[in-house]
Symmetry: C2
């Protein structure tokens, strides 16, 4: 068997077009133009690249870029004041600090200043709580993008055995919640899991977000499974994921490539979440 690739680039382009259409319709309907405020603290090169792609995508979708760049030595108080201002600004639909924040800042306390309605990457404790309680809220972009890709394969999530590898707060844990919301039987694995390959081989749907290059190979894949690789690592000769794609492709039914799989979806979902936030804020304002 050679796995079919799940084309995240195309999926992301389609979703971004859909969002752009939605933004136009929202404005035509009298809505205030949606705006995204990315917040970058300091000068980390990788973070700058990520944030710039978000800003660019935001403008391309017809939304307003409210980016803020704060110096690396900004105080907790100063950063908090900026977040409070963005939280209160009716022009700003979504607020997204680029993580990780510098170690001298209390990230949890800063994130807590973002109102749930503007928490477009589902970073806050309130958003995590809504997700854990199975209630409506903003969903973290990367796991929500994975669900979007899974749906493109036509795999039936209800009743499926889903295995998530990695329990990070930003990806693995919310990923498990979203798969549960779709009625999968969900297993969450991590560094303490005894026989990772055995557990992974049970999965009809396997999502790997461990942050370890090539952690999962063919021996950990059930024949025909849908395998989603959230990892992305720079190695000699290019980029690689948490899945050993070359061997896994011989067993899996579907596989996301790296790059061109999950990566592009994250930004597309961010835009979708921002438009959704703008709509909800208008409804809340009208209500």
């Amino acid at each position: 068997m050679t796995a079919q690739l799940i084309d995240g680039t195309t999926a992301a382009r389609e979703l971004r077009t859909e969002v752009a259409d939605g933004v136009r319709a929202f404005v035509a309907d009298g809505g205030r133009p949606s705006g995204l405020a990315t917040v970058l603290v300091g000068d980390d090169a990788a973070s700058q690249v990520y944030v710039r792609s978000k800003q660019r995508a935001c403008v391309e979708a017809g939304m307003v870029d409210h980016h803020r760049h704060l110096p690396g030595d900004v105080t907790q108080e100063q950063a908090g004041a900026v977040l409070d201002e963005l939280a209160a600004d009716p022009e700003v639909s979504g607020v997204l600090p680029q993580l990780p924040l510098p170690a001298h800042l209390d990230a949890d306390a800063l994130l807590a200043r973002i109102p749930a309605l503007k928490d477009v990457d589902g970073l806050t404790t309130e958003s995590a709580g809504l997700l854990a309680q199975g209630r409506a809220g903003r969903q973290p972009c990367t796991p929500a993008g994975v669900v979007h890709l899974l749906d493109r394969t036509g795999v039936q999530l209800r009743g499926a055995e889903a295995v998530v590898v990695g329990r990070s707060v930003l990806v693995g844990r919310p990923m498990a919640q979203l798969l549960l919301q779709r009625d999968a039987t969900v297993t969450l694995c991590h560094s303490r899991t005894r026989d990772l390959e055995e557990v992974c081989r049970r999965a009809d749907v396997l999502v790997v977000a461990a942050g370890i290059p090539g952690l999962v190979g063919a021996d950990a894949v059930k024949p025909g499974a849908v395998v989603v690789d959230v990892g992305i690592h720079r190695v000699e000769g290019g980029l690689t994921g948490d899945v050993d794609g070359q061997t896994a492709a011989s067993v899996a039914g579907w596989l996301t490539p790296v790059p061109g799989g999950v990566g592009p979806m994250t930004i597309a979902v961010l835009l979708a979440n921002t438009l959704q936030a703008a709509r909800l804020q208008r409804a809340a304002h009208a209500g």
Copy 2:
């Protein structure tokens, strides 16, 4: 094999004694006597029984009973005002509305008025979010009581395969989080799980909280597994759980009885959470 019984009655008595000692020490150290405010709305007989046991246990542990009983037709506004008052009252360490609340009330909106520090049954979205993010917070009493019982068996949770049956917001979901926190590989099953017996048979630790009498029998138990039965149902001839105890006991290594297993632990943990809340409130006040 005949399973050893996990004696929840003894475990609960020991924990309650420990809490009573802790309350005495806290007061001797200048702490304000801890107080628990249970809130009962209406006259449901079962709820009255549950709430009275909590009140009684609270006084027995040396804490003050701040119980409030509201009429069944109380308005959202009136109920909210009572919760706000309890939230602000420095004599009240913990606030616990008895669920379910009558259908005419917006329970989520009422629970949101309880400050995280006084949320002694981990009911609020904020507590659920802290748990989902792996951060410190008040833990729901029943699942926390289950972990307490598991620890009494000496089972190694780290790396164990744990299976939770049932995904309720009050038990199943937080149970999975607590087992993950203890480094188990956790699978969450529910009504859509395809082959429940097969999934349960993988479990070194099996927690059943499905609300269906006798759902899990011997065929769903791995030989030697630790089986915890959260269910409690009134049937002809007495009480029974979600586990068919008679058959399961022939396969399991450890089993909680019904009654006398998980039930007594819930109140004991509630008292422990209330004392912990009083300590944290003093620290927050001093800080």
